[in-house]
Structure formats: C-alpha cells, structure tokens
Point group: C2
C-alpha cells in the first residue's frame, strides 16, 4: 500500500478509528497524488476513491497498482453500497475543519455512521513533517521565487503601476512554475501600510517604498517570500523600522530548530517591537506545503514545538497606517540543529 | 438600513430567527459591499461587522452611515461581549453550507447559542434574484467576454499552445475587467474530451477542434461562456455532434422563462442526446452572480422553477473519450416572457 495511506492508517488505529472519509482535495492529493473532485474512503479492508466520469481518465492514469486504491464512479454506487462501506466500523474519522455542517449531516446519513470522530489532526500531523520528495518541490519553488525577485530588481522602474509589476510576477511564475501560490502583493508608498494590500494602478515614484509578497507552486508545493525595497535612499524613519524588522527576523531565524517552543519565537519579535513602541499585528508565520497557509501557525497562542522537516515562514512586519509598512519574510526548513533559509534573496536594505 | 440587510431581516422574521451569523465572505460582500476577512452579526438590535486591524481601513471606507453597521475590532471584544451578542435570542441562523463542523462547534460555544438554525437558504433565495445594479455588472462582464472572444478569433493560430491562449485570455481580463471568474479552459484536439481540462503545452494544429470556457469579473460579478471552434473544416462526425449540441442548446433557450420547471429544461437535452446515443454527463447549467457557480443548479434532480431576474448558464456538452468534445454555453437572464442571452458571441459553426 502507498506509504502515506499506510502511515495514516497507523495513526487511525491509535485513535481506534476503523474507517475514515477524506474529502479535502489537498489531503486527497497528499495521500494519493490525485488532483480531482472526489472522496477517499478508507474502510476496514479497502481504500476507495469515489469520483465521476469527468475525472476517471486522470485518476486511473495517476494511480499505480502499488497504491491499492479502488476507483468507483459515483453513478454506479447504490444507497446500499454507501451504507455498507463502514459496516462494522464503530468509529469513523472525518475532517472537521473542511467538512461543512451540511455535509457532515449528509455523510452521517448517507454512510450510516455510528460515531463520527473529528480527525483532522491525523492528517495535519502527517502533512506538517515533509519528506524528501516534498522538500525537493518546496526548494524548487523557493529557488524560482528567488530568480523572479532577481529579475524584478532589474525590471521595476518608476512610472510602472503596482498591477504591472504583479502581472510580471504572475507571468514569470506561469512560465517557470505552476503559477502563483497566492495572490501576489505589490504595495507601494502608503499602500504598503496595508498588510494584505491588493495591487492597484498606483504608479511607482522616486523615494517610494515597495512591499512585495510573492510565491509560486511546484507540483502543488508552495513558496512564500516578502521583500520590502526602496526606490532611492530611504528616509531615516523608514530605515530605522526596516532595520528593526530585519534584526528581529534574523533573531528568530537563529532560534528556529527542532524542539523550539513556537510561542517563544513569536515572543522574540513582540519584545523587539514593543521595546520601540510597535506591535506585531499578525502571526509571525505559518507552515507551508500543499497549502500556502497550513499548520503549524507561528504565534503567541501556540504552545507546541516545531520539529525537524517542518517548513515554516518567518515574517515579522510593522505597519504605520497611511504612511508605510515593512515586512521581511522567508520560507525556512527546520532541522535538528537550526534553520535553513530556502528563499535566499538578499534582504540587507535593497535600493533600486 | 441598507436594503439587502433589511430584506434578509424580513426573511429571518419569517423563520423566527432573532439573530444571524454570516461568515461566508461572498454573502458579507453581497450584504455590505465589504471585501475583507470578518464576520457579520445580525443581533436583535444591531448589525455588527467584526474584523481586525488589517481591514479596518478598507471597511470604514466602504460603509456609509446609511448602512447602519457597527465595526468592531476583534482585539477589543471580550469573552462576555461574545456571549452577550445573542442574549435573549431563541434562534440564531448560520450558513450550514459554508461553516465547517469545527467552526459550528466553536460558534455554539463562543456566542452561547441556544438554538443554531441552518439558514443558508435565506441568503440563497435573496442572491438568486438579481437587482438592477447586479445585472449591470453581469452584463458588463458578459460584454467583455464577447470582446475577448472576438479578439481570440483573430489571435489564435496553429502552432500556439493551449497555455499561450489561456494566458492571453487572462491578460485580456486583467486589462479590461477584474480578472478571470474561474480558471480558463482551453482544450484542443483530444483534450477537448475532458470537460474540465487544464490548459497544456499542446500546440494547436490544422484540423483541430478547440473548446474554450471563459469568463471574467466586474465588481465581483461573473460571466461564463463556452465556445467550441474549428481550425479548418470540421469532419462529418464533429459537425454532426456540434449541431446536435447547438440545436439542443437553442431549444433550451426557447424554453427559459419565469415559472419554467428546471428539471424539464435538463430533460430537453437528455432527450435530444439519448435519441442519438449520447449522454449529458454534467449539469445543464448553474446560477451566476458573485459566485461563478451558485443556485439554482440546472439539472434533472432540481424540481424547482426559475424566476424572473435569475441569471443562469445553458451549457450542454458531448464528450467522446480520447477523441473530442463539444460544449456550447451562454450566460442567460430569465425574464417574464423568455430568455435574454447576455453572452452574444456567434455560435454557428466557427471556423478559423
């Protein structure tokens, strides 16, 4: 059987689950490689992927006999078939963070579930730790992001609009990867004070600050990087804040390693910022994988530890409303002995 | 108070709901114009939008005093505040098709809900019927789609890849609208047999059939159109199937009007196709609005009727596995006396 399904079944046994319904397409892709609409059922004896005619071609060409996954077209499944999938299963797991309340009720009824158990954490705990193949894809996505940024430093000129720059990034990622991993942020001047700004028709001017948050996908795996750059020499206040954010980001980087408490990482930045009268208004970071934002979330509320082969972002930022903002972000691999920064673009005050 | 919230409150009274939690951002945008992360609470006496520092600038600039919406930053809301929002509310509505099981449980607890009632249908029934402003945006999105298609007929040449054509559509929509309303499909040759094909590096050849499914957004409102075109004269089998799909699509169009039974519309195509030995393997259509796919869904299982000022698609298709496929789709406005086709691109056998 495919290794990831085997690992999940092992974890299911630990929770006394005899069956599981996996409906989040990202989890299905993680477990099977399938990129389609359908549902994966892990029953007592079988792994069954239920889909429809639109996807059977793709699904059968993706799976190998080694996967041990039966493919069923939903058109051929009777009411009784559904009721029999989890016969003699006392406990069946489901993804409580993906399945809507309406679908939860539908499943309970359709599959005649005895005890429907919240089991998202089983998949999260698997997905948080990346294997060789996954790391290869994330590294590649980070490498392409570095190349894109290198290209941008030559490309960006006063007079261009934020939208034009965002479009160029989109095109670069379409040509060199599977496209963007999220909607690119290009925020210039006062727009940079909005952490989630959408690119506008504002033209880049001399003396502007530009915040660019960008990432792409390789085989479904994401990269995520933010750089804040200057058009001409920054003013003193900008430089002070830039250096505060940068030093804090580096301090966090030095503390990232297997076993480190997550809350403590966020605390480094909170302390650095509050010493100077600023606040960190968003999380310090998040896991990166098939989802651009996934577990673990790096913030003051999370008392867990980070582990070897997790991939997380480290992205402190300070935003002065209607004035300007600075964020510096890298995608980082956690190892036994420290962090490896996967996005390697320069971050010492960049002036174009 | 803003008209849409007033209409929703009227419907809530009919279901004996004293409060409602609206978390689907599309519904929040529909009711308030706000395009952010946050939750809209309709309590006994107030309309409250709960968001965070990242969005307060956008939210306050979007709302007017006329909306009568209080904006709260979640940082300032205490445990007790949450518990008091729905005090003395016997029944509180929520969106069971959007809220996950995990969030459902969280809300129950956080807001101390007595009776949490599935209430998605209230919003769906409002959103299905479009007002003047909404129709203006959808019409504009359809008009831009027609212009894009006109441009494509000149642009597409043998030797180009599907991806290059899809990119051009993307760029056109970025320049003339708010971008695509869904991922464009450009499927040529045997790829057209997959109803949900993703653009590939396959090059357009002489004698190809090309299926293009495209749409854009204007102020959040979507258009949706599919055309199947030929590079040079089609072969006999292709032409026969093309005409079968086209005639059936036109027959449906003639039957679309206020009060028409939805099942009967789908039955027209199913009958036309089965007479010739083919099957309709997907729905005949769907509603279009702020979501590209919304209620009503036009298929054999839906026994409801369509109403004046609904906007739906009419998109029959036939797919011969590993050979070719034909789909013809328009976005259509339902009126008292018939259908108005909003996408007006030609559909009589187009040869480039």
């Amino acid at each position: 059987m495919n290794e990831r399904i085997k690992a999940l079944r092992h974890k299911m046994a630990g929770l006394d689950l005899q069956g599981m319904i996996i409906s989040n397409p990202i989890n299905v892709k993680y477990l099977t490689g399938i990129d389609a609409e359908g549902i994966l059922l892990l029953t007592r004896k079988e792994n069954i992927y239920v889909t429809d005619a639109r996807y059977t071609e793709h699904v059968t060409s993706t799976l190998t006999p080694f996967d041990e996954i039966v493919v069923d077209d939903q058109k051929n499944i009777s009411k009784e078939d559904y009721e029999n999938y989890f016969l003699f299963c006392e406990n069946v797991g489901f993804e409580e963070d993906y399945v809507t309340y309406a679908v939860y009720k539908e499943y309970m009824h359709k599959y005649k579930i005895n005890n429907f158990v919240e089991a998202t954490k089983l998949l999260e705990s698997l997905r948080m730790i990346k294997d060789e193949e996954e790391l290869k894809n994330i590294k590649k996505a980070c490498e392409i992001t570095d190349k894109c940024f290198e290209f941008l430093l030559e490309f960006i000129k006063p007079g261009m609009t934020e939208k034009q720059i965002a479009r160029k990034i989109h095109d670069f990622y379409m040509d060199n990867a599977e496209g963007e991993s999220f909607e690119t942020i290009v925020a210039s001047g006062e727009n940079s004070s909005k952490p989630h700004a959408i690119p506008t028709d504002r033209k880049i001017k001399e003396k502007d600050i530009i915040l660019i948050d960008m990432g792409c996908k390789v085989k479904g795996y994401c990269s995520d990087m933010t750089r804040t750059i200057f058009v001409g020499e920054p003013v003193k206040e900008q430089l002070e804040i830039y250096n505060l954010v940068l030093e804090s980001q580096k301090r966090v980087l030095n503390e990232i390693r297997d076993g480190q408490n997550i809350k403590n990482l966020a605390k480094i930045v909170e302390n650095d910022f509050s010493d100077k009268g600023y606040t960190l208004i968003h999380s310090l970071g998040h896991g990166v994988g098939l989802d651009i934002h996934e577990k673990p979330f790096i913030n003051m509320k999370n008392d867990n530890t980070i582990k070897e082969n997790m991939v997380i972002t480290n992205e402190p930022g300070i935003y002065l409303t209607q004035n300007f903002g600075v964020r510096i972000e890298d995608t980082v691999l956690v190892t036994k002995h420290g962090a490896i920064t996967l996005t390697e673009s320069g971050k010492e005050c960049i002036i174009i």
